[in-house]
């Protein structure tokens, strides 16, 4: 009997070995590519399949494309980096690139192979670097601007605001016409990118997240406190709905796209959402209103990186080059994602001097990226947590003039601790 058990056991082991070896041998001519849902699936997936087929015809390498949601992407990518398994080449958010580079899990990139650093928008190129080496190739850029509902503005008799003060005045009139909470939609506690929204206000107030040498937190100075109070006051004064406290970015976007709210800070990718969900929406886009210290916006986007443990790094790099070819880039940004290209050459396309794109292009020129630090994720999460605490205090009715300062000070202490870990 035990002999039979042993035979069965041996059989199982043998078949497992066989399966594994089959799987390994099948990998040599293919690469796996992870990207986020940068465009609506029904146009995105067919385009990717078509391009993967074209790439295979050209190089003989099969590309397995997998779309992963932003909410799980960080987990998937860090797991791939820790284990060396999963994807050969993948998309990362610009703010992730330096941290992932610091893990040592990303392949160093010779940027000259991809046209040199001057071929890319500077903020995007910087985001691929860590300690003066490149660990990714800029793919597309994003920046945020103020979307407004033309019809609602007309009925309230207002013009798009050019400054923070004007925005309050405009909001006042819109609320008088359309009721409380109708002036602006805001990302709240559930928005993973709430910080990107706030830094636009922060920089316009002359503040910054860290000191120039990236050694100390400085977002808790007067400019920082004022910027966060201005943000929270949008809700407190009834310009934004109280429910915004719990919104994620999508909920804020939807409130604007559905035509319920007159303004929202959004990005170029939202244009695809408007075309799909409410094509009749009469909207305009203006640069983010200037603060006391001038204009500012957030620079983000995505880069393409290669996993250091990949067995097919050459093919992975070829795939990046293929995606970055001008025709593919123009198609991908103009027709599919409505993101902004990160390549100077593609940006020169006259298309980007027309309509709303001109606004985005201008905004991108002065927008700011986060500092390329290994501990950036920590820092962002700490500030975000304290921002959540500020909004929680508002919801709980304990918010007062000192609330913002108290929480930003707490965040600054913690961030300074984290910065000590930075090597």
């Amino acid at each position: 009997m035990s002999k039979r058990v042993r035979t069965v056991f041996l059989g199982i082991v043998l078949s497992l070995v066989l399966l594994t070896s089959l799987a390994v041998s099948g990998q040599s001519k293919s690469i796996t590519f992870w990207l986020m849902p940068n465009a609506p699936d029904d146009t995105h997936i067919p385009w990717l399949e078509q391009k993967a087929a074209a790439f295979q015809a050209k190089t003989g390498v099969k590309v397995n494309v997998e779309i992963i949601g932003w909410d799980v992407a960080w987990q998937r990518i860090t797991t791939a980096i820790a284990t060396g398994e999963g994807a050969d080449v993948f998309q990362v958010g610009t703010t992730w690139n330096p941290q992932l580079a610091a893990t040592g899990g990303l392949e160093e990139i010779k940027i000259n192979e991809f046209g040199g650093k001057n071929a890319f928008m500077n903020a995007n190129y910087v985001s691929t670097t860590y300690k003066n080496k490149s660990y990714g190739v800029p793919w597309f850029a994003e920046t945020r601007a103020l979307f407004y509902n033309v019809d609602m503005f007309k009925k309230a008799g207002v013009q798009p605001p050019k400054t923070h003060d004007e925005l309050y005045k405009v909001a006042e009139k819109i609320v008088a016409t359309y009721g409380e909470g109708s002036a602006i939609a805001l990302a709240g506690t559930n928005a993973h990118d709430i910080l990107h929204n706030w830094t636009i206000i922060l920089w316009a107030n002359g503040g910054d997240l860290l000191t120039k040498d990236n050694k100390m937190a400085m977002f808790n100075n007067d400019a920082g406190v004022k910027a966060m109070q201005w943000y929270v006051d949008l809700v407190r004064r009834g310009y934004a709905s109280k429910a915004c406290a719990e919104y994620d970015q999508n909920q804020a976007d939807a409130a604007f796209i559905n035509g319920n709210v007159a303004m929202c800070y959004m990005g170029p990718w939202n244009i695809a959402g408007i075309e799909q969900q409410n094509p009749g929406l009469n909207y305009g886009v203006v640069e983010p209103p200037a603060g006391p210290k001038g204009k500012a916006s957030f620079s983000g986007g995505s880069n393409l990186v290669v996993l250091k443990a990949s067995r097919n790094k050459a093919a992975a790099k070829e795939w990046i080059k293929f995606l970055l070819e001008k025709d593919n880039m123009v198609e991908y940004t103009k027709n599919l994602t409505h993101m902004l290209p990160a390549q100077v050459e593609v940006f020169a396309d006259p298309y980007y001097d027309s309509g709303v794109w001109k606004t985005f292009k201008t905004t991108l020129e002065y927008s700011t990226a986060y500092p390329p630090l290994a501990t950036w994720g920590d820092i962002e999460n700490i500030v975000k947590q304290e921002f959540v605490n500020v909004l929680s205090e508002y919801v709980d009715g304990t918010y007062n003039d000192n609330t913002v300062k108290k929480h930003l000070d707490a965040a600054a202490d913690r961030v300074n601790d984290v910065l000590k870990r930075e090597r």
Partner: protein, 303 residues
């Protein structure tokens, strides 16, 4: 002869449990030991790909957790406190509702099987579905909770449920709804195991319904109750889905250990600290279970 065949049988039995034992070894024990080892390392973003080169900090991570000087420790202790509060409310409430419904369902009436099936609905609904629905229900602007509270004049303006102090309450309400049918199912099985003769004898002795419940039903349900409690305590400390789905990014002060560990280890990439917290949580659960099992054994001796 008898001894010999018994030894042979034992050996054979070992062969049968070998695959399971191997699986346990690789899936449970090795990762647990590994995790405990990592908790002694300062494993972070810099050492993610070469964790063997992470500095060995001995009990450094644990000291950080309990010294009270570090934000991470304060937040962790807060999360443990939260999960206790959460358990102390959801477990007894779920039990009481489950018991009341089980008592009702233990009678004969038309459509009993159908009703028994229906009440299991919350339990069999996948967490992701159920809690996402609850998330809508609790939404400030369009949620049903606010709609009815406003309608009945209990509140003057919509409340934000999923942020701030009310967040834990919201999760507790949703969890009770999700959890009581299981208690009901188990208690109903327990009720059906109570011999009818006991009640008949009690009736003849002139016992009131309350006396019957107190003297027969409750004591006879004790073993089932203990098992239920044991399972609930274990699940309670694992609570993750309900917090993650309902509160998403806005967990704020309503962290529980699982969500906090997830964030520290997998979002902030402090694997050493995350492992230390997991170890503390495991020890905590083991202690609680040991206490429960001991009281259970004592109870069974007494009866």
């Amino acid at each position: 002869m008898g001894m010999l065949s018994k030894a042979k049988g034992t050996r054979r039995a070992y062969w049968f449990i070998l695959p399971a034992a191997l699986c346990m070894l690789f899936v449970h024990f090795i990762p647990i030991i590994w995790g405990a080892y990592i908790s002694l390392l300062d494993l972070d973003v810099y050492t993610l790909t070469q964790w063997t080169s992470a500095p060995f900090v001995k009990l450094g991570n644990y000291i950080k957790l309990f010294s009270g000087k570090f934000a991470v420790g304060q937040r962790f202790l807060r999360s443990v406190y939260n999960v206790f509060v959460y358990g102390l409310v959801t477990i007894p409430t779920g039990y009481i509702i489950g018991l009341l419904v089980a008592l009702l369902l233990n009678r004969n009436f038309v459509g009993r099987t159908f009703v028994r099936g229906i009440i299991l609905l919350p339990y069999i609904t996948p967490d992701s579905v159920a809690y996402n629905v609850w998330r809508f229900i609790f939404q400030a602007r369009i949620g049903l909770v606010n709609k009815y509270l406003l309608k009945f004049g209990l509140i003057q303006e919509p409340l934000v449920w999923l942020v701030g102090k009310r967040a834990l309450t919201a999760v507790i309400i949703a969890s009770i709804w999700k959890g009581w049918p299981f208690a009901c199912l188990i208690l109903l099985a327990g009720l059906q195991g109570i011999p009818a003769e006991l009640y008949e004898a009690a009736k003849i002795d002139g016992a009131s319904v309350w006396q019957q419940f107190k003297m027969i039903t409750l004591p006879m349900l004790a073993p089932v109750t203990k098992t239920l409690l044991l399972l609930n305590v274990i699940w309670n400390f694992h609570a993750y889905n309900q917090f993650y789905i309902l509160l998403g990014g806005s967990v704020g002060e309503a962290h529980v250990p699982s969500t906090f560990i997830m964030q520290e280890a997998f979002t902030n990439l402090h694997y050493g600290m995350g492992s230390a917290m997991s170890v503390v949580l495991m020890i905590l659960i083991v202690i609680l279970i040991a206490i429960l099992l001991r009281s259970k054994r004592r109870a069974s001796y007494e009866s």
